[in-house]
Symmetry: C2
Subunit: 329 residues, 2 copies
């Protein structure tokens, strides 16, 4: 049954430092052009002095304005990010503080499924909205990947960018809604992309020259792709199974911007032409959970997604998880 919710507004924040592929080449002491050719990322943004909560709050203010609302209309605030700003408290509390809502009482909590955090937050909170619990929910995905990159690991370090996207979700009365959604997790891939340290297993006090890589992002892209690619066809089948939809009915696929090469193969596997497949990795890199809403934002800005369009949000994440939502925008 369709869940009558609507992305009423959307806003973004891009960090101050624009990093061109040439700069990455220099950082890695490789030939100019190498990182662009390998990753497909021409430029991305890295934070200078911004915190994740600062970026998220800036994006949120724009989303609220875009929705034609004010911050006082918001009655729930969710962080849908794969990274944390500090160990305690949760991101959402820090975002609320940054928004100047310290005394508002607006409930604030985090939903985390790494790169799928935005999708999972949207999926889960939609039930609370249709049941009448919350009226206007802010979901904020604000990611700083640059601090955790391992510059000795080319494969991942050439790929990621920072930034924030926020949406306001409300009940809809005009047909907008979630038509179907689905998520699967295969922890057989739990260690294919990870940061092993920083939690209770390897505490920061254990940081030293020998352990330092445990505190940086570590990814086996080929293995992730192999597992995802194998799981994808049946996942799509299951996602659509409660509907009469096929991929032909989807006006725009908004994929996680995992990597340029993976996206190319996935698009072909889905049987979707380039015009129906948002690819923004060239200008943003992989922004963890902010990637999917950033691609949605770009699609809306460019007029490639309009109200009433059927949009497929689709991605994989560390875990390894696959998630998808068919949204009538």
């Amino acid at each position: 049954m369709k869940r009558n919710i609507k992305i009423k507004g959307i806003g973004t924040y891009l960090p101050k430092r624009l990093i061109k592929a040439e700069e990455i080449d220099q950082l890695l002491s490789t030939k100019s052009g190498w990182s662009k050719r390998k990753s497909g990322v021409k430029e991305r943004y890295f934070v200078r002095d911004e915190t994740a909560s600062y970026m998220g709050a800036e994006a949120a203010k724009k989303a609220v304005q875009d929705a034609g609302l004010t911050l006082t209309d918001i009655d729930c605030l969710i962080s849908g990010s794969g990274t944390i700003e500090q160990a305690i408290p949760c991101n959402a509390a820090l975002l609320q503080e940054q928004l100047g809502l310290q005394y508002s009482g607006i409930p604030a909590f985090d939903i985390n499924s790494t790169c799928l955090s935005f999708v999972t937050a949207l999926d889960m909170i939609s039930y609370a909205i249709v049941c009448g619990r919350y009226k206007n929910v802010l979901i904020i995905s604000s990611e700083i990947s640059s601090i955790g990159l391992n510059w000795d690991q080319d494969e991942s370090s050439i790929l990621f960018g920072d930034g924030a996207v926020a949406v306001v979700l409300s009940k809809s009365t005009d047909g907008s809604g979630i038509i179907c959604s689905h998520m699967e997790t295969y922890s057989a891939g739990a260690h294919l992309s990870e940061i092993r340290g920083g939690g209770t297993k390897i505490h920061p006090r254990e940081y030293n020259e020998q352990t330092k890589d445990d505190f940086l992002f570590d990814m086996d892209g080929r293995a992730i792709f192999k597992l995802s690619f194998k799981l994808l066809p049946r996942f799509i089948e299951t996602l659509f199974s409660t509907t009469n939809l096929t991929m032909e009915d989807i006006d725009m696929v908004i994929p996680h911007q995992a990597s340029a090469s993976a996206m190319k193969i996935i698009r072909k596997k889905l049987g979707v032409e380039e015009s129906r497949f948002m690819n923004i990795i060239e200008n943003y890199g992989n922004m963890i959970a902010a990637s999917i809403p950033m691609a949605l934002f770009e699609a809306i800005q460019q007029g490639r997604v309009k109200r009433g369009d059927k949009v497929l949000l689709l991605g994989t994440s560390a875990g390894l998880s696959i998630g998808g939502i068919v949204l009538e925008y």
Copy 2:
């Protein structure tokens, strides 16, 4: 409107090391009896070699058995913990792996509102269950606080314990359900209890003799209590406002085991006698998000909560948040 869900099963895991108050006194070089007198905690458990995912999986197996189900009946797995095992991926993926469900596809994600994570997870996922999305959801709260304690800060280090609790949540047909629930966050208190480091703001690479306290738990208990105490009466009023209930109708209050002294004052403020107020802090300490489900487990085990009873889960968390659920058990 009542949400027809039911805690079908519950299970716990207690770490291998039982730590008596005398041991804490020695650690802090204080007189024997001091930490017990100050905190009200006689004993608590600390992990020896256990990971959070190991503890959580052990608790989950017992919860599933208690529900009369098998792991293959579970169709969603949520980590409701305030601590993380590693930075990436989320706890829930690691729990799924530890449960041997690597190839199951069971969707796994985290909900985090620090000490209220269990309550928020229960509250939010209940909507998805009543809407038919998931049938049998595992919520696992597994916490290792001991690794993050600052032994130079008596106030918090004498208070905390480790451990895990899991529940199986299903749709109910027998009257069990959530009668009402409510949450409020006041980030004016965001820095009253925190671990500043470990995320993107202060990366573990910045760990050194000068910064080390940033990676340990830091709490101003008096300020937290003051703020919580001020907010409590109106919170309870709002929580009950959609019902005809008063505190007199509650068979058992299951509070977060924040601290012995705070609980005593809160109990009196609520106007609830000792027999209707679960206090287990003496034997477990404050187990972060595992505290409330552990107190519920004890109440069930001791025959103090029976099917059909009205139970109030109530707590505060870093953030600062207040959350409550009235559950017909």
